[in-house]
Symmetry: C2
Subunit: 208 residues, 2 copies
């Protein structure tokens, strides 16, 4: 392709369209549908363009994963800087917009080492940020570390949220109510609402 | 094929070989490799035989999942009837021999509704058995249910174990040590070793 500014802009638009098509495809149909032909078809472009813009399907997959991470990063950042970081993080992770793609990425990470490395790196980054936020909460509110410290609290909450996402996907629900109640107790203790918020939450739950 | 007793036995041997080949393939290479051609190749049989024995790839997949469940059922049963059911269950689930296949099944469950139904059914069955065992432990030892009852305990432990399996797969490890220590405390409280066992465990950990 000629490298005039116009064709360059068109080029990066096509590349973005391919990434978006692959992202949607992975969410809707899973990695079974992840082929150059299907991605191009969904983007309304020629299959050859996939190979033009991406050296391999792994490279495209990493771009798709980065799109998921960027989206999660924005929501994650909002949650951690909100007035109730623990509640916001719990709500985000248990209703993860990227949840549908999560097990796909894990499964694909076994096939593509580059994707696995990207996931490892990104996963550790998110976890460090959560631990930092949790350490701040513990310090500000004077929580003791004896039963469970900030590292453990972050891992436990993310493990439980992830488990709900996976089990909802499969349709398993036994024991969920009891754990959701336990989580509410943990949040009430570690990230309590003030009186105004409680009144608001009450109204909201009556409305629901 | 003629239905003489000899050919029938040969037939079910071939069918079993296909299931075993598919099981191994899924563990080694993930669902990317899950095609009639690859399964037959690994079993050393003709691809047409896959279609002869299984009406669809989903039917083969369900047979593979049932093989995983049967294996897990045996180990699960041993764990729950052992002297230390909570410890045994924790050890089993965090070093799950079927762990490598777990995310594959979840990802594939989105593509094949019959597999998803089988997983839901099996998952709920294992969870009920664990809850039953945990209720027995709670009753025998007089544990109170206020912080976390048997349902919640089972779900929490399985969520955390599953999370370790997934994160080990990806290579994420931040916070693991703290949670492993917490789990040890929970096990020491809820499923304590007696003096003899403690001495044995001590020797074992010195040897490790």
């Amino acid at each position: 392709m000629a490298s005039t500014p116009g064709s360059k802009a068109r080029g990066s638009r096509s590349k973005l369209r391919l990434i978006e098509a692959a992202y949607d495809l992975l969410g809707e149909e899973g990695y079974h549908a992840f082929s150059a032909r299907r991605v191009a078809q969904k983007a309304g472009l020629k299959p050859q363009l996939v190979h033009y813009y991406f050296r391999s399907m792994e490279e495209l997959l990493i771009a798709v994963f980065q799109r998921s991470s960027a989206r999660y990063f924005r929501l994650h950042d909002e949650a951690l800087s909100s007035r109730h970081p623990m509640r916001a993080l719990w709500a985000l992770n248990s209703n993860l917009p990227e949840g549908k793609r999560m097990t796909e990425y894990v499964a694909l990470g076994k096939v593509y080492p580059g994707l696995r490395e990207e996931m490892r790196h990104t996963g550790e980054r998110f976890r460090s940020q959560q631990i930092e936020a949790m350490e701040r909460i513990y310090t500000e509110r004077g929580f003791d570390h004896t039963i469970v410290g900030p590292h453990g609290m972050v891992l436990l909450m993310s493990a439980v949220a992830r488990n709900f996402v996976i089990e909802d996907e499969v349709g398993v629900s036994l024991g969920h109510d009891e754990v959701k109640q336990l989580i509410r107790q943990v949040l009430d203790r570690f990230d309590p609402l003030d009186a105004d918020e409680l009144a608001g939450a009450d109204l909201a739950s009556h409305g629901a």
